[in-house]
Symmetry: C2
Subunit: 405 residues, 2 copies
């Protein structure tokens, strides 16, 4: 496998664009379009939140058809809690794009992220769609990625290529979101495209598998926002032969998808709402020695979402007591006196007891880095899980007190 | 029922004191003692965290005996993750106090709150206990309440009196804790005393009932910190006749206990780590129209612990979209188009849809108050639940980044 530049437009047959349609208050990009030059199959994972936005409800219907030509996504307005008019707006967006692209409206998916409960400024969107279509290009991946950002501070795009079933297959994606505080992150959107020739059922299965290894590890779990949406479109232009899920080609395709999703997920965790260049910590949290992977993940998520642990990281304080307390309430069978904790290579807890001031001073040096690893060993078995997270900063509170999500 | 002054020492036969033993870095009170002049029964609810501090393990044993004379509690050090030496220290603290009080060591309970993973400074504690005992008085309730504070900004004490089974019965309590961010609050301690003559079993049942109506409603749920502990001691000095749980005397006793616990719980929610005089919001959150009380509580807790909702309150922004998103992920069956939301008397959502800019502007006026009510109506049934919570402030992050819990 090889990482490549270009994000979604690294993939043959994919055109993209991103422009300012005037949905956001300032003249920044807020409308993105991704188009496949030929018909594609599509798979998707949508929010499990019972308050689902209009574009999510529409995608739920259209995923049953399983075919797609385009994805039209806006930032600045979530089109959530907007009732029937909101659904009509989402449908109209798809229809307008479909008209200009010459495809069925059912083959256009819509995504939205931004303020909840405001009607979309449809006049502006109607006016913008022709301009957006006219700007579609084979270099537009970055512009599309930029146009779906809300409080994101970085553009999130990734692509990789791999030899599968006799052909070089490319897979790219863009994403938007922040892993800052689970279960309260802002909306997560990810749009993946590939030129693989693959059945819709296989693509759906592979996407679910990839989610578990990527976006579900950052701790945001896809069921939280009203608008969360991950779509993967495969246009088959690579012309590869069919392959099976269980064979080596299937495994390579899964790895390709996992890699791109994981890269995007880490970018989300690394960004984190409220991230500023110098204070935010990116933490790889490994839980080992668990009885089951579920146990390992539960402990990892509890530690990774503890506000007390995360503020301690912000304070560059190894404060392992807060980690022990989080482990203890994870709902997993543990023995306190078997737990070991390390920051980077520095052990701070062994057999459930702190290793003293000197160890903590060394650990605090690790915590001064922008990125570090935290390992929690439970001493209960052989299962493990890794998640990626960040600290809880003053800017998180500042941004979310003033930003309207 | 009548609220009275004096906290725990409003109760006949209860002596208390609080002094600085030098456990904390600064010379502030950090060691408290509560003593009943005569033997008492004791009930307790302890943390469900699997990493339980030494004093919790000791209390778990001693609650089986069910009798007590005294509670000795320190702040500044949690005596958690301290292994066998920690348990020996907790035992020694109890034994030292028992020696001076002339009672069995098994009848002295110990509580701790503060930094995890540091050995207690036993030299200082040994030196302080005789001084502490010598300062016991019938006016010492406030000093004891002060000595168990950590990041608390207010002393938490309450007492009330009620005619039960032919006598005037008094019940008082002190507490320590902050409801700031569930499930990450610092340790919650509450020590209740009463002169009621009541069986240990009845007292235990009443205490559990009271917990559900008070400390479990602020959203901190008693299973989170390594040190959480609620004890209730009843010395029987009122000389009342026995009464049954189900009769009117039993109901009045339950109300007396509920009232004092609820007062203390609200003080905790109102304090909130990082509370500063002018920015923190105290929010009474009512969920109505739920199918069951469990559903109502689940929705209430999800909204009350949403970082996005709480930062919006800090920003004095009614931002009902974040509330809708929280309701949707509470794991409860809802219909989006039946939901209504009001701040104070100002409706902002009806049938799942926002009532527009004018309503929000009015709601934002409500949000400028230091205390306000938020009502979420689910339109699913007739069950309801109320919880008390606060906003998420910049000071929360500041304090927890620098404070060693």
């Amino acid at each position: 496998m090889k990482l490549v530049e270009g994000g979604i437009t690294a993939v043959p047959g994919i055109f993209a664009a991103g422009i300012s349609a005037g949905i956001k208050k300032t003249a920044v990009p807020d409308l993105a379009l991704i188009v496949s030059e030929s018909d594609a199959v599509i798979a998707g994972v949508l929010t499990r939140n019972k308050v689902a936005a209009a574009p999510v409800l529409l995608a739920r219907q259209r995923l049953r058809g399983g075919r797609a030509r385009a994805i039209l996504a806006n930032s600045g307005n979530a089109n959530a809690c907007t009732g029937r008019p909101g659904i009509a707006d989402a449908r109209e967006m798809a229809a307008l794009a479909a008209g200009l692209l010459g495809c069925s409206a059912d083959h256009v998916f819509v995504g939205s992220t931004g303020v909840i409960g405001q009607p979309l400024p449809m006049d502006r969107i109607r006016a913008a769609i022709p301009r957006l279509v006219s700007q579609l290009s084979r270099q537009g991946g970055r512009e599309a990625a930029r146009a779906i950002m809300t409080t994101d501070t970085t553009i999130k795009m990734a692509a990789a290529t791999e030899s599968i079933a006799g052909r070089q297959i490319t897979l790219g994606g863009i994403a938007k979101g922040s892993g800052m505080i689970h279960p309260d992150m802002a909306t997560m959107l990810a749009y993946l495209v590939t030129d693989a020739h693959i059945s819709r059922a296989m693509l759906q299965r592979a996407l679910r598998m990839a989610m578990v290894q990527s976006f579900n590890r950052i701790p945001l779990d896809g069921d939280t926002s009203t608008n969360d949406m991950v779509l993967c479109l495969a246009n088959g232009l690579a012309g590869n032969q069919s392959f099976s899920t269980t064979g080596s080609d299937g495994r390579r395709f899964q790895e390709l998808l996992n890699t791109v999703c994981q890269d995007l997920a880490k970018m989300i965790a690394r960004d984190g709402e409220g991230a500023t260049k110098f204070v935010t910590k990116f933490v790889e949290l490994r839980v080992t020695g668990a009885r089951t992977e579920t146990d390992a993940l539960r402990v990892a998520n509890t530690v990774a979402t503890s506000s007390l642990v995360k503020t301690a990281w912000f304070g560059q304080d190894s404060n392992w007591g807060r980690i022990m307390a989080a482990i203890g309430r994870a709902g997993v069978t543990i023995r306190e006196n078997r737990i070991a904790i390390s920051y980077g290579d520095i052990p701070v807890v062994r057999r459930g007891i702190g290793l003293g001031q000197a160890a903590e001073v060394q650990a605090n040096v690790v915590l001064r880095q922008r990125e570090f690893t935290l390992t929690v060993h439970l001493g209960q078995g052989r299962a493990a899980a890794t998640v990626w997270t960040s600290d809880l900063t003053l800017d998180y509170v500042k941004i979310n007190a003033s930003y309207r999500s």
